[in-house]
Symmetry: C2
């Protein structure tokens, strides 16, 4: 349970009911929601919130580094409450996206790519999550 108001203030963003709802949806929600997921979810606590405000707020949060944005799903960008470096696993059956901790994988050979200046990278895996 994050304190959305505090988080917004610390970034110099005026906390409003709409922005609080958006922050709570993406930070307390589970997973990697699309903007539309956030809109639907935010409307449960703030029924009049508009699509434009959800997009504005999400983009603002990305700018401030409070959340990430990932281009790994077809059709829509997803937002990511996890701002630490990490990899992703996408379940082809369900579409669910799982975080893989950064230190679980090691990518060897990047330094041999002389033609490219790598600013960031990640491993993207697809398959099925094993039922347990």
């Amino acid at each position: 349970m994050t304190d959305a108001i505090l988080i917004l203030r610390q970034c110099g963003i005026q906390p409003t009911p709409q922005r609080i709802a958006v922050v709570e949806c993406v930070l307390n929600g589970n997973g990697h929601p699309t903007a539309d997921d956030v809109l639907i979810s935010a409307r449960k606590t703030c029924p009049t919130v508009s699509r434009a405000t959800v997009y504005n707020t999400l983009n603002l949060l990305v700018e401030k580094g409070l959340i990430g944005m990932q281009t790994i799903r077809e059709g829509a960008v997803v937002f990511d409450p996890n701002v630490e470096k990490h990899h992703h696993f996408i379940d082809d059956d369900t579409g669910d996206i799982y975080d893989i901790p950064w230190d679980q994988l090691d990518v060897k050979g990047k330094d041999k790519l002389k033609d490219f200046e790598i600013l960031e990278f990640q491993v993207i895996m697809r398959g099925r999550r094993k039922k347990r």
Copy 2:
């Protein structure tokens, strides 16, 4: 210079002027075109080709394994004439996508992810291509 007609026949797809134009655009063109790139490009040799036919043909080619489809750019899927396993580097300045040969990188640690059955994976890198 690929023989589009032959390639289509080998996959059991009737070669038509429209399909030939699409195949030539994505196979002989350079890089990772979007459907819209292909549409514009195909219209140079086949001015009346429609958007639906371009999408239908591209999806058909993907189904048959003749080209790949990558979800690595915002806004639109890109198609990939390279069907071998490989990684990608995206130039943040230009948006250009470069193929990185499969054996240039080695991802260690995948076997420790007990909860996931990895069917495919790739490394996605972002940054700037060094001018040379």
